[in-house]
Amino acid sequence: MDQLKVTIALILAVLLQWTLRNVAEPFAYIDFPLIIVVYAALQRDAVKAILFGAFSGLAIDALSGGLLGANGFSKTLIAFVVSELARRVYLDNLLLRIPVIAGACLLDDLLYFGLHRVLGQEPSGHVMLTVSYSLIGTTIAGTAVYLMLDYFMTERTGGGTSRRRETLSARRQSRRRNPIRLGK
């Protein structure tokens, strides 16, 4: 069921990315598909995250003036890096996810810009300014989206109090769900 929910979230993210810039220009600074790709990678489902990255990237590239495949390349790579990171380091806490989405956004922007430069296509606008706005927008939106997704993904069997206890008790969670220990 969770798989389906994340897939629906990704489709919604692509649709939002396609339409929101026409509603208001600042929405362009939020990379919705990247937020969902990183979320999927943080769930330690690497295959799903990589496929999400490739397909959502291509869907964005198809409507963009940039090179076809540039977003697909950068998002695939980021999905792989984040899923490898999530496999080795405990990242289930929301506070720990904020630097991850920020770093992923920065890497995505730099990769996208770099690939276009390498292939002789100069993107428009000031690089530092664009990257900074994108970093701020995607990190803030990503944090809000993760809160929402966590809310929808959590099984509501024990009521709100138990869910809050699960989210906040990082030490207990790490002992119980540490993937490295499970891997052994």
Binding site: W18, T19, I50, L51, L58, G66, T76, Y112, L119, H126
Partner: protein, 296 residues
Amino acid sequence: MVERSQQEVWRLTPWLAIVLCVANFVLMAFDARADGGQRVIRVWAQTAADFVQSPVTTVTSSVSGYFGSIANLRGAQGENEVLKQRVQELEVELKAKEDLATENQRLNALLNLPEKTKYKVLNARIIGRDPSIWFDSSIVNRGSLDGVKLNMPVVTNGGLLGRVTAVGPLTSQVDLVTRDKSGVGAVVGEIAGSNALGVVMGSSKRELIEMKYVPGSAEVQVGQVVYTTGQDGIYPAGLKVGEIVEVESGSATTPHRIMIRPSAGIGSMQEVGILLYEPAVKEEFEKQLVKPAKAK
């Protein structure tokens, strides 16, 4: 169905990432080729996206139009008076222009001059903007079924906006003049009375475009208007590109560096016009050029 262990999946993951990255890189390299064609995947994705973008644009524009019309009511009376006066002035101007047009037609007939190329303007609405912040292309709700073809110029009531770079059955993609690869042949001032010819393309400042290769000896001033020359084989001559806002003077050996503010109002456009214009085919001229090898 074979269940894979978590460790097997983790072992396969790098290979999947490598394969997808290589596939995307090949696609990028293929797309970067400057053959001027369009990609099938892009065309069909745009057609699919149209079913989402069109309703969203309709809803948002009607909502913003409703609130906008309420706000506009306040100044409507004063504006009405100004417009009435303007209509009277324009009627006089129109009469003078009609007389000139009739005279022009009569003289052309006397001299047996061929009629100039005419083109129709197809109205279109912008239904989508580039989902990536790095580029400024737009999607319009007119496609090949409406007669749109690749490289047709797109204008607003202010001036030149860009050209069509991908055409689907229902939608088209428009690359704006702010793109660094736009390359519009342009002239400062009237084409007949100026030697300040150059090429207009995007700049590092998002809201400005740059005119390159204008000889340093040419006289150029801030405030002058830049028009298309029609020599690039894409845009017709005489379209307004923008107004010069900054000039870094060149010398006898170095060209001027000219910054232009586009007159098309790129940030706020909603309605555009696609010029159903196809430049004159140079086939006849090319036939006359006999290649040396064939000549033998």
